[in-house]
């Protein structure tokens, strides 16, 4: 395959004696990489907490639930990441999780579905509600912030109505076979011959691994992912390059809804029942993970690993403070301060690396 450009034109277009600019990316030293910085931070904090409280390394009681939490909030973060990739927000992540789990709950309670059939129902419901949000945004052009906020209110109204109508205790308590196992089993319960996995790693984490793999693959290897990122960089340019931006907006929101449903399922499994308030605490972590990890609020750049690390950072801090016995009167103060400090060091690293490259860098992105 060759472009219809002749030798003469090509020759005319060449710029012979001008030296090429050195690559920009390779200029940043490894220690200024945000992901590596985060990783170091997480490991360092874990070490400090572990030294102060050896119980931090208790596999069953600390590491296991910690990893289960990180896994769940990573999926929550990925749900937000999908819409962030196109420069949108999903303020209804939590409520989408609640909505899809409501259908999962109905499928268990009323239709007596199996564990995974119910999960499938939930994922479909999540995808559908996400697609609905995306469709409204694409059709009306209204800001995603507003649409998902309004959708959040709508669902906040709808969900309790359904729960109070269908259940006695405002929760679906039927537990299909396998749910308890999924909550408690770790890799220690997976054996090949005599070799078993670590008891510290919950089986539930496999959902996060799958989600990360799929999302990571989509964004780094497929046309869909690239088109989403380009849509996030500039909708106009994307539209004019033949990307069906409206469809991409719907896809991104549908992916977000699907992942929210998965996170809701993980929460339901790890706490025990399917209730109306599932996902209420999802919103802030959903932003925190991706953004700490380097995903841009403005769209166009995402990091799946960063989301995992960002989520891990906040979970580890919280867990460590828990173990240190920091009471509620100080917990949030420390949490906020550590977070600010951690982020400032990130900034300091960037500045340092820029200075090494002999110049001020690009100003911080707005918002």
């Amino acid at each position: 395959m060759s472009a219809p450009v002749s030798e003469t034109a090509t020759a005319a277009l060449q710029e012979p004696e001008t030296p090429t600019e050195p690559p920009r990316g390779s200029r940043t030293p490894w220690w200024a990489n945000q992901r590596i910085g985060l990783l170091i931070l997480v490991v360092a904090l874990a070490t400090v907490f572990g030294l102060l409280r050896p119980a931090f390394f208790n596999q069953q009681l600390v590491i296991f639930p910690l990893l289960r939490d990180i896994a769940m909030f990573t999926v929550v973060g990925l749900a937000q990441l999908c819409v962030l990739s196109i420069g949108h927000m999903n303020l209804a992540v939590g409520r989408m999780a609640a909505f899809s789990m409501m259908l999962t709950g109905i499928s268990y309670d009323l239709w007596h579905f199996g564990l995974y059939a119910g999960l499938l129902v939930g994922l479909i419901a999540g995808t559908a509600i996400g697609a609905l949000a995306g469709w409204v945004i694409a059709r009306t052009g209204v800001n995603s912030f507003v649409v998902t906020l309004a959708l959040d209110f709508l669902l906040l109204g709808l969900i309790p109505l359904v729960y109070t109508a269908l259940t006695e205790n405002a929760a679906f308590v039927t537990k299909p076979a396998g749910m308890r196992e999924l909550r408690n089993y770790s890799l220690a319960d997976v054996c090949v011959g005599n070799v078993c996995g670590s008891p510290a790693i919950p089986q539930l984490a496999m959902f996060a691994v799958i989600a990360m793999a799929v999302v990571g693959w989509i964004y780094s290897r497929t046309r869909l992912g690239r088109e989403l990122l380009l849509t996030g960089t500039s909708v106009k340019a994307a539209e004019l390059s033949g990307i069906p931006t409206a469809r991409r907006v719907i896809t991104a929101h549908a992916m977000s809804g699907c992942l929210a449903a998965l996170a809701g399922f993980m929460l339901a499994v790890s706490t025990g029942s399917i209730k109306a308030t599932i996902g209420e605490e999802f919103m802030l972590p959903s932003f925190l993970g991706p953004i700490l990890g380097g995903t841009l609020l403005a769209g166009g750049f995402i990091s799946v690993w960063g989301t995992l690390l960002g989520t891990a950072l906040t979970s580890v801090i919280r867990k460590g403070l828990d173990l240190l016995g920091v009471g509620l009167e100080s917990l949030n103060i420390y949490l906020g301060l550590i977070l600010l400090l951690a982020l400032s060091t990130d900034r300091i690293r960037t500045v340092l690396s820029d200075r090494r490259a002999l110049s001020p860098g690009r100003g911080g992105r707005r918002r």
């Binding site: 119980a55 009681l61 600390v62 939490d69 308590v173 408690n184 929460l267």
Partner: protein, 344 residues
């Protein structure tokens, strides 16, 4: 005494049936032999005035029963996931007896089961799991339906047995709220139509201003028709007491709990009555029980038994004496539980 209902069906007769030969006197509490191995954790659902007596009572437990250690940890912040984390962290640090107010009544059994599976002593305090099963060793809690029933009764009494009342409460999608709504409905139903109830106002316990606004709107639109307000959540109680006074309407407010703010209201007449619960008793007796179970001195004869910790209608007349009654109830609880135990 107020008519405390005990929900455990098998043991309505009182504290004499089924004594184990090895236990102490059937009428009195069992003596704890050695509590030094017990590290007791009292875990409320989150920060709330209701649980504040737990903090001091925990220390009292430690002193009275010579426990190895006690802690009071409210960092779960009304989130079942976070509460589970707190529980696990404490377990990792060697705590082995847990008195827990489960954030989510429908989920807490799962947490209880996890803890039991690891061999810890677990008590459900101040709230019982939703449904018919309690996976903890016991549940020592206000019977919320009964308490709401009493509160509604008190309201009906206060308005003279006739008129319209309204019920203000918290999170609609919570099984305890549903029980409270049922309790009030029951009391209203018993008046054979003399008292009517407006639709329940739910979800206004999140913060004081939401409650205040809801009360003000209610009074502005329906204030003339309402004779009494029964509240079964904290912020609405504070807001209703204040709102009624400033609107100068002749409405009787029945509140919940005995926070300083509300007791002042009772004394000044702004609040007709309140239904006090028994947090001290829950923490004290709960701690004692957990120590017995945690030190393996005793086991429950009937795991999962549910006991009402009592609820007390406080009016201007009883405001100075109700605490005595409550203390008596606490004593009685120990006796009551003694018969539930089989000890070495």
């Amino acid at each position: 005494a107020t008519g405390c209902t005990t929900k455990s069906g098998t043991d309505t007769a009182g504290g004499t049936a089924g004594d184990d030969a090895s236990t102490g006197t059937s009428g009195g509490p069992v003596e704890l032999k050695d509590g030094s191995g017990v590290k007791l954790a009292l875990i409320p659902g989150g920060a709330h005035p209701y649980f504040q007596p737990w903090k001091t009572t925990a220390e009292q437990d430690k002193a009275d029963f010579k426990l190895g250690d006690v802690t009071f940890n409210e960092t779960g912040e009304w989130d079942q996931g976070k509460q589970n984390n707190v529980v696990n962290s404490l377990a990792a640090q060697g705590y082995n007896a847990f008195g827990i107010f489960g954030v989510s009544p429908t989920d807490i059994n799962t947490t209880f089961e996890d803890l039991k599976a690891k061999g810890f002593a677990v008590g459900s305090l101040a709230s019982c799991p939703a449904g018919d099963t309690n996976s903890a060793d016991f549940c020592l809690s206000t019977d919320v339906e009964a308490a709401a029933y009493k509160a509604a009764k008190a309201t009906i009494d206060a308005i003279g047995g006739e008129g319209t009342i309204v019920h203000l409460t918290g999170n609609n999608v919570d099984s305890n709220t549903q029980r409270r709504i049922a309790g009030v409905k029951k009391a209203v139903g018993e008046t054979n139509g003399k008292v009517t109830e407006l639709p329940v106002i739910t979800d206004i316990d999140k913060d004081l201003q939401t409650a205040q606004k809801a009360v003000a709107d209610l009074l502005a639109s329906k204030g003339q028709d309402i004779k009494g307000i029964v509240t079964t959540a904290y912020n609405p109680a504070v807001a209703a007491a204040d709102g009624v006074i400033s609107s100068k309407l002749p409405i009787k407010v029945v509140a919940i709990d005995d926070d300083a703010k509300i007791l002042t209201g009772i004394k000044s007449g702004g609040v007709a009555a309140t239904v006090a619960q028994n947090p001290v008793g829950q923490a004290y007796v709960g701690g004692w029980l957990l120590a017995l179970l945690g030190s393996k001195q005793c086991t429950m004869k009937q795991p999962g038994v549910i006991v009402d910790s009592g609820s007390f209608v406080v009016t201007k007349d009883t405001v100075d004496s109700y605490d005595e009654e409550r203390k008596a109830k606490t004593k009685a609880l120990q006796t009551e539980f003694a018969s539930q135990l089989s000890c070495q």
